[in-house]
Symmetry: C2
């Protein structure tokens, strides 16, 4: 297969981890006889520094005409602590998601037997946990109208959802449940929010088309608690943008490190693959960032094009590396490997 | 001291747990020679059933003229699963918070040595965790304009904050930090939300008045992760309404049971005390609900009126009961006591 892959390393540890997943994808191409073409482009703080634009036109163009986007990370402390900044790195990511129509962000969460004791949670609570979060990615309070009053003394963000926005991701989530354990949990705050009531109503209607999937509902506050108390209860979680952001970061503790969590963002035409961790500025350049989340995102990229054997080879390699303790310091405190060494090892296993 | 206390048992397990805290407060009054007068009133689903109004006028009047409100719980599944219901129990609670001007919801989270092994989290992660969450309670997306389009095909909720709303709770939170370990963490999503940027800016300005308090910032997704990874890092957490709702329920796992978590909601004139758990409909009438959250809320009520010795007596009694395993089944699986028996035991310790 021939694939054009846009590579957007972004900020902080983005470049160093993305380098490893590109390496792994190249090894996959070699071994399975594919032709993957990689093109780099600027995004985030890196793009602001050079072009005063977190998502330059050239980058967006490249993404549009590529088959897939491999994304690193975005964000820089110099913007976080400046509430008055007019341009911010995150705008680049949000605009990219919107422009590419990536309405569904898919975040699988699982455990590795070898890492069960790494988790802050007790082994018996998490053993066997295996869920996937379907987070709506181009709507809600992230994209509703926002403004600050002229006098600077008040501000507002609008959370808006249409039935159609809920519909399209709900169908994906139900279909995923059918391929898994046939359970879907909608997380909302329907006892308070009008948008949540629309979610609940719409999803209930769609559920009739999937009679083999058991649907249940959780308020987001309760879900945040259940995620830790009893994570094995979840199969597919479906939720809106902001709740999905919070819950998926929270869920990262189950596996033992956020450095293991991959994601795919898909729409009707485009698809983007990115680790769920951020730019982790304190770690930049130190060789301590875990490349596995990016590499597993690359596996999701392969899945997306039905390259199942290839994707499984990547996942298998990751399992072997974890089994053998070839891991960065977030999961191997004593004898840790650098970002690059882990990448090399995985590349070697696949080649 | 003479205190008029409005008692609003509400729904589900609300009545049975509130009965225990009233019992405990009566024991306190006897022992310390106070005069506490209790007046019951309807709220929530219970009030809808009888009066088609989740917050009847008479209830609101009573609360206004009382010195404090002791609140049980609110919510009923028959409303949760009906997105079209016009009247819902939660409206009663939200209106009460708004009408009484209870802008700050204070939720302490701690561990008990004896219960460290109850938590789904590993002992070494949580030992010593001791934080208090200041959640803004009368603003944000809970109270912004909300609507559903005429055709029912879209909906919206507005998140609005003014500087003044942020100001008043921030001062309370900084003052609390000064009485504790001098650390305040603002949780927001300033990389995406305009309201969060207003929070960050306003809180930064106020921080200058509290040079002895160390201020830091966390994005809410990261906070949801840090809460589990490293809960001992937190002293005072300050956050907006929705994030506070989610984070405080999540934080309940640290102590081992949400049945232990109390809260105080305060404003300029009124104050209300309620457990953070909900109405727990499945447990209603079974005698399995933990009354401790409500009883510790009663202790916060005593604190509010500077009855420190009295409040400490209640907390001490709770510690003894936990030490001796006189607990409901959420924390004592083998040899559990009923809601009432735990209440009786605590009453006896205080009397
Ligand atoms: C960087 C930020 C805007 C982003 C988000 O909130 O969506 C990130 O946290 C994520 O989850 O991908
Ligand atoms: C019942 C509900 C409206 C309420 C809230 O979300 O504020 C509850 O979850 C709480 O935290 O007190």
């Amino acid at each position: 297969m021939k694939l054009n892959i846009a590579v957007l390393p972004g900020d902080g540890i983005g470049p160093e981890i993305t380098q490893q997943s590109v390496k792994v994808l190249k090894a996959v191409a070699d071994r399975f006889d594919h032709e993957f073409q990689f093109d780099d482009a600027l995004v985030g703080a890196a793009a602001i520094d050079l072009l005063e634009n977190p998502l330059p036109e050239a980058t967006l163009d490249l993404c549009h005409k590529s088959d897939a986007v491999l994304f690193g990370a975005i964000g820089h402390p110099k913007y976080d602590n400046n509430p008055d900044a007019k341009v911010r790195p995150e705008q680049g990511l949000l605009k990219l998601r919107k422009e590419l129509g990536l309405f569904a962000n898919i975040r699988p969460v699982r455990t590795y037997e070898k890492l069960l004791d790494q988790s802050p949670l007790k082994r018996e609570r998490i053993a066997g946990a295996d869920m996937v979060i379907y987070r709506e990615l181009t709507g809600g309070i992230y994209f509703g109208e926002k403004s600050t009053a002229q006098d600077g003394k008040s501000a507002q963000d609008l959370c808006f959802y249409s039935e159609e926005e809920i519909d399209r991701i709900a169908h994906l989530a139900f279909k995923a449940a059918q391929q898994r354990r046939n359970k879907l949990t909608l997380v909302d705050k329907a006892n308070v929010l009008e948008t949540s009531r629309l979610w609940r109503k719409t999803v209930k209607t769609i559920a009739k088309e999937y009679p083999d999937v058991e649907l249940d509902f959780l308020f987001v506050d309760n879900a945040a608690m259940q995620m830790i108390l009893n994570p094995t209860q979840f199969d597919v979680i479906l939720t809106e943008n902001m709740f999905g952001d919070i819950l998926s970061d929270e869920a990262s503790v189950i596996g033992g490190s956020i450095g293991l969590l991959a994601s795919a963002s898909v729409g009707n035409k485009n698809a983007m693959f990115e680790p769920i961790h951020g730019s982790y500025p304190q770690a930049t350049g130190k060789g301590i960032a875990n490349p596995v989340a990016s590499i597993l995102s690359a596996a999701m990229l392969l899945d997306h094009f039905d390259l199942t054997e290839e994707a499984n080879a990547v996942r298998k390699a990751v399992e072997v590396s974890i089994q053998l303790n070839v891991c960065t310091q977030d999961i191997n405190k004593d004898n840790h490997y650098t970002t690059e060494k882990v990448g090399d090892f995985l590349e070697g296993l696949i080649a």
